[in-house]
Symmetry: C2
Subunit: 260 residues, 2 copies
């Protein structure tokens, strides 16, 4: 596993250099996918192609699930699967040139084995899994406290908050406040570092695969908003939280159902 870990880290560092060069060149082409705020750039595609090339050379039998270029669907999760988001937070990448991540999750027989989330512009790499623990760059990361909902910040999807979906506004009211960064990777890093008690959003597999593998290593709770296992297929309402915050939030989800 150590060889694979080193390989993946090297790919991510190379991909980050590629991204920084593209930012410096400033010739990005931006297209929309499903709606005017759902962006993809030539850089997303280039980074994904690069990562897929590396993976295929390293492990030709591995399956790949990835955000761009029609690689976004997979039915067979047997064997080893790499789940890739070449640029998580593309809108931030385009408009801020920061606050975006590269993410890679490695799954075996459908189980999260390893996760890698790389905050490119801050050069901050979180990586690890159940068997090895979680690291921040080369330092061992201690599991965060089991923060209560009321004692922590909640990463929140703006649309779910606005519509009060699943009592999202009530969750926020019980917490110390909501944060919206526009980047799942950053929110998941926040959870892993104890800077969030929870994260609620609408996510696709490449948004949560890497984080999920690491959160499990810390005994954090991750599921869809109805408490069922994530489907790894298409977008769904997602919750990740400390055990204490999760329990409280799921009770609020139930209350929202009773009211409807």
């Amino acid at each position: 596993m150590q060889i694979m870990i080193n390989e993946i880290k090297n790919w991510m560092k190379e991909a980050a250099e590629l991204i920084k060069k593209e930012i410096a060149k400033n010739e990005m082409t931006v297209d929309t996918k499903n709606g005017r705020r759902d962006l993809v750039t030539n850089v997303d595609q280039k980074v994904q192609d690069f990562l897929i090339e590396q993976i295929s050379a390293f492990d030709p039998d591995a399956k790949i699930l990835a955000e761009e270029n029609g690689r976004d669907h997979l039915t067979d999760f047997s064997g080893r699967v790499f789940i890739i988001d070449p640029i998580d937070g593309t809108l931030n990448f385009v408009l801020e040139r920061e606050n975006f991540c590269i993410m890679i999750g490695v799954y075996e027989q459908g189980q999260g084995k390893l996760g890698f989330i790389y905050n490119v512009m801050e050069d901050l790499l979180l990586w690890g899994g159940k068997e090895i623990g979680v690291f921040i760059n080369e330092e061992n990361l201690k599991a965060p406290d089991d923060l209560s909902l009321k004692d922590g910040l909640v990463g929140m999807n703006s649309s779910m908050y606005r519509k009060n979906s699943y009592n999202a506004q009530v969750m926020a009211e019980h917490s110390m406040g909501v944060r919206m960064s526009g980047c799942a990777g950053l929110e998941l890093i926040g959870l892993l570092r104890g800077e969030r008690s929870a994260y609620v959003s609408s996510l696709a597999p490449w948004d949560y695969a890497a984080g999920n593998a690491m959160l499990e290593a810390f005994g954090m709770k991750v599921s869809n908003i109805n408490g069922r296992p994530l489907k790894f297929d298409g977008r769904e309402h997602f919750i990740a939280a400390t055990p204490k915050a999760y329990e409280k939030m799921m009770a609020l989800v139930e209350e929202a159902k009773d009211e409807n």
Copy 2:
């Protein structure tokens, strides 16, 4: 003016060292002010005391308006006034140990002369004013493009967004998306760097004084949400935006009034 600029930068760097030492010591005491989410720590107070000491030694005649320790009200803005937020984003400081700023605004006869916003943990200092332009650390910062509301991100107060105050949700709908960082300084830095088209919140003078002085240098629009000049007294609904985004947003504020 150069002497004063150098002095202020030195104070801020020293204050940042003080903050980092306190974070390392990890013996912070946290109190609440107006409600459980309105925090103040011994570090906020210590930093403010340090800054006031420096200001008083440098310019004994200057007036001071500051967030903590009962210095939060001033009626006479004649002469030189220093407006201080020792730690902007105290909740982030306590829960994240990052994403907070030190802010100092220098006003003369009620006019913004100089602003300083220091993102402590990223060591990023934005400073400047109408007469000298705006700098990021020692580099001259170019005025950002006049982004339309529809082409940029909007920094947004969570409570105003939830309640749709002044059509805040409609503003968001017209934009590329909302961001909530919990730190006015970070949002104002975002505006100055062209990473935001607007920022809408409920702010006190120490939250906006430094940013206001720099935004004016770039020809950006800053006012209360009704289009009137900021009062520099107490909390009020605040808007800062590119000229194009401002015009569109003020039209949406008017529409909200018509509907009520």
